[in-house]
């Protein structure tokens, strides 16, 4: 050994091949070990978030030292000095220390690093989940928006066609459908008809029977139901090679108007449904999601509501159109009627005037002609002319009257009249004709029939005359009886005339007149026709009865105006008939009754003969005044006996004299005594005449003494005619008169 260089010999010779390979490997190891920390530093510097920097430093140090060790090892392959060996030893010591420290430290660090990784994985999962959910929500929101838009579209129109078309279009768009179809029930309700489709513009009238199980299934559920693509309602496209998408069907309730009651909902049993069929695109492998089904159900309901609104609107529009039409038609009819009435009135006015003028001429001249010298044949002719023209005139009047009656423009002329007089006049008018036909006419007036009444005298007479005239006309022989009386309450409402409800009251009474004849009678089937215009009894029409058939109709109208009723009873043909009518008349105030009671058969006392035949005794000594008083009383119609002294007076007076006028201021004649004697003579009051004093002074004393003595009255002389008249009437009414001056 060469001890001079203090070198350490390697264990093996350096040219050994093993030695060479070890030398190269060490070199590369050192290289790697130096480059790793460089790389680490470079990348850590680049990354911002690496948390364990000092671990890297430690680790770098460890690796650098390991590299150094291997580097120094390279010199140990050849002869090397002790210094190199010392450096080598130091490096190795350092490397050992750092390695151990690093190893110890890694025990703590590696679990931390591992947990970081776990958390990262967890967060990634969560993020994925949230992403999924977000996607779902967005889809739902989108769907909701679609529904709202669809609803809006559907409800924005009231036209049923548009509603349905819009529904299908929007649904198709929203759900990206291949095909939608709407099947509506037919009128018969036994089939569903394809009414609307999305893709096909004009659906051919496919129909399916309504009672298929599939359809029943859909109709019985309020949800959208998945159905097979092969069922009849879904097979609306030409079959192709593709795989049909899933099909869903929903029911659309149709609210029929007739089911709609205002206060209660339509019953379920009578509900009708339409079928909505939705098909997903084929070959898309899309599935019906729940939210899509919900969308379909909602849309179906909305469509139902919109359809019902549309139906109601249609109905009301139709009704309004109908009303307008009817209105127009009514207006037209009214105008036509008015025109007709105007035309009729014009015609009647012309008729009235134009026809009456020549009629008047004919009648007047014929009657004048009658007065002249005529041969018998000529007279007959003239009489016929007169009769015919009278008939014609009556006809014209009747027609005019009737039209006025129908117009409602006729009003009664009310006035106070004498009922007895009316009946007597009728009797007088009818007696000549009746006697010619050898008919006996009798009139019975009830005693309780008021003498005066308020009503339309003319028309009442016309009615009675018409009825009696008919009785005479239709009787060949026998008798005619006219009865008139006041209808009593029990008899007022006749069961035959249920509409007639007369109400008796204090100032009205019902006059009931019955005219019974023994004429040809009327058969029961003709009875109702009697009062219709122009209807003549068939059996008499051929006979020369004359008349236009208007008479009874007019009578009926008059009687109705007088709030009464008229009817005819007959046992049958040949058995005579009775015409009965009741009219309402007013009762006048009791004006004339007091006078009537005292002078029962005497007309109102305003004529010269006010007290016909009244026996009066006048006692006056003075010839002139006696004559004047007599003149007064004679003028008033009295039968006057004159006496000029009290003895003569007492002698002549009898119970025939109703009144005794005594001149009272004759001196020497004791009027008082006469009165007393008179009282003695006639003990009964009603036999005694009324004693009246005529005196020139009527002071209180005289009056009192007169009363004391039993005089019935005192009158101041001179007496005027009017005063005498009123005095007499008062006296006779009251049997007493004490005139106040």
């Amino acid at each position: 050994m060469d001890s001079s260089c203090n070198c350490i010999e390697p264990q093996w010779p350096p040219d050994d091949l093993l030695m060479k390979y070890q030398y190269i490997s060490d070199f590369f190891i050192a290289l790697a070990y130096f480059s790793i920390p460089l790389e680490l530093i470079y990348f850590v510097k680049k990354s911002a978030v690496f948390p364990y920097r000092w671990v890297i430093v430690q680790f770098g140090a460890f690796i650098v030292l390991c590299g150094t060790t291997h580097l120094i090892n390279l010199w140990t392959f050849t002869l090397h000095t002790r210094t190199v060996a010392m450096v080598m030893m130091t490096a190795k010591v350092f490397t050992a220390v750092v390695s151990c420290v690093t190893a110890l430290m890694l025990v703590h660090i590696i679990p931390d690093l591992l947990s970081v990784k776990t958390r990262e994985l967890f967060l990634k999962n969560k993020a994925a989940e949230l992403d999924r959910e977000m996607g779902l929500i967005r889809t739902q929101e989108e769907t909701g928006r679609h529904v709202r838009m669809l609803t809006h579209e559907i409800r924005s129109t009231l036209d049923r066609h548009t509603i349905l078309k819009t529904t299908l279009v929007e649904l198709g768009r929203t759900l990206a459908l291949e095909e939608c179809a709407l099947w509506m029930p037919t009128r018969t309700g036994l089939e569903l008809q394809l009414s609307y489709t999305l893709r096909q513009q004009n659906p051919v009238g496919y129909t399916v029977p309504i009672h298929l199980p599939v359809i029943n299934q859909v109709f019985s559920s309020s949800h959208a139901v998945k159905i097979s693509p092969n069922c009849p309602v879904a097979r609306i496209r030409p079959a192709g090679k593709y795989m049909p998408g899933e099909v869903v069907a929903a029911r659309v309730p149709l609210l029929h108007l007739s089911n709609f009651h205002i206060n209660d909902w339509p019953e379920l049993s009578t509900k009708r449904y339409a079928l909505m069929v939705l098909m997903l695109p084929s070959d898309s492998a899309r599935q019906w999601h729940v939210h899509e089904l919900e969308l379909v159900e909602v849309v179906a309901d909305q469509v139902a509501v919109a359809l019902s609104h549309a139906a109601i609107l249609e109905e009301s529009m139709r009704a309004r159109d109908l009303l307008m039409e009817q209105n127009v038609a009514l207006d037209l009819a009214r105008r036509e009627a008015e025109m007709a009435i105007r035309a009729r009135n014009d015609f009647l006015a012309v008729l009235n005037h134009e026809m009456r003028t020549p009629m008047h001429a004919i009648i007047a001249l014929s009657s004048l002609l009658q007065e002249t010298e005529l041969t018998p044949e000529q007279r007959l002719m003239v009489e016929t002319i007169l009769k015919s023209s009278n008939l014609l005139s009556t006809l014209i009047n009747d027609v005019l009257d009737l039209s006025r009656l129908e117009d409602g423009s006729l009003q009664l002329d009310l006035g106070t009249f004498n009922l007895y007089v009316v009946f007597r006049e009728v009797l007088n008018l009818i007696k000549p004709i009746a006697s010619v036909k050898k008919l006996h006419v009798s009139l019975n007036l009830a005693p309780d029939l008021p003498e005066y009444a308020i009503g339309d005298e003319m028309r009442l007479m016309q009615t009675i005359l018409n009825v009696v005239g008919n009785a005479v006309k239709f009787s060949k022989d026998g008798s005619i009886t006219i009865t008139a009386f006041v209808a009593k309450a029990e008899l007022l409402s006749d069961s035959r005339n249920p509409e007639f409800f007369p109400v008796p009251s204090d100032n009205h009474f019902y006059l009931r007149v019955q005219v019974k004849d023994s004429g040809i009678g009327i058969s029961p089937q003709d009875l109702p026709k009697l009062f219709t215009k122009f209807a003549q009894n068939q059996s008499t029409a051929t006979q020369n009865s004359g008349g236009s058939g208007l008479g009874l109709a007019i009578c009926k109208r008059f009687v109705n105006l007088m709030e009464g009723h008229i009817w005819i009873e007959s046992e049958g043909l040949g058995k005579g008939s009775t015409a009965i009518f009741m009219v309402k008349l007013g009762i006048p105030e009791r004006l004339n009754e007091s006078k009537l009671a005292f002078m029962p058969k005497v007309p109102p006392n305003h004529g010269p003969t006010a007290f016909p035949g009244l026996k009066v005794l006048v006692m006056d000594e003075n010839g002139v005044s006696r004559k004047v008083t007599k003149g007064l009383l004679v003028h008033l119609g009295c039968d006057v006996t004159m006496v000029s002294s009290s003895e003569e007076c007492l002698r002549v007076v009898s119970n025939e004299h109703k009144v005794v006028f005594m001149d009272f201021c004759t001196p020497g004649m004791d009027g008082y005594e006469i009165a007393i004697r008179m009282h003695e003579k006639f003990t009964k009051r009603h036999e005694r005449p009324i004693i009246v004093a005529l005196t020139g002074n009527t002071d209180k004393v005289t009056k009192e003494s007169c009363m004391r003595v039993g005089m019935d009255g005192v009158i101041l002389k001179p007496v005027s005619l009017d005063k005498m008249r009123s005095v007499l009437s008062d006296l006779l009414e009251h049997r007493v008169l004490f005139e106040a001056i």
């Binding site: 002139v624 004559k627 007064l632 003028h635 004759t666 001196p667 001179p718």
Partner: protein, 149 residues
């Protein structure tokens, strides 16, 4: 004179009589009592009045010429005259009669005599006038006219 003139004259005359109080209301009443049953009623009554009054006046004259006047009978006569004249409507005569009666009650002979003279005077006046009126009426009637009331 022709008819119309006569009638007018009559009317004027009557009006003047009323105006001068020779006749009053009562005369009108009398005229009203005249009718076809009593065509001459007025004339008859007035004639009666004239007769009566003549008689009464004679009686009165005789009675008042007596030495001892029987006032009772005078009163009775005057009463009668008063009654008659008031029945006709001879107003002036009636008034004098009333005064006459007062004097009778007083038993005043001078007064009575004076009144008698007055009565005579008034009576003759009214008699003349009425007679003239009747004459006029007669003329009218014979001319064929009617008496205007």
């Amino acid at each position: 004179m022709d008819l119309a003139q006569l009638q007018r004259q009559l009317v004027d005359y009557k009006t003047s009589l009323y105006h001068e109080d020779f006749l009053d209301e009562q005369f009108t009443q009398l005229q009203e009592l005249q009718d076809e049953n009593n065509p001459d009623f007025v004339v008859e009554v007035v004639s009666l009045f004239f007769e009566d009054s003549d008689r009464l006046l004679n009686e009165l004259t005789k009675a008042l010429e007596q030495q001892s006047v029987d006032f009772k009978s005078v009163d009775a006569h005057v009463h009668q005259l008063k009654g008659s004249s008031s029945s006709i409507g001879a107003q002036r005569v009636q008034k004098v009669c009333i005064a006459f009666r007062n004097y009778c009650e007083e038993q005043n002979v001078e007064g009575c005599l004076k009144c008698l003279q007055q009565v005579r005077h008034e009576y003759s006046l009214v008699k003349t006038k009425l007679e003239f009126m009747f004459q006029l009426q007669q003329q009218i009637l014979s001319a064929g006219g009617s008496i205007p009331m």
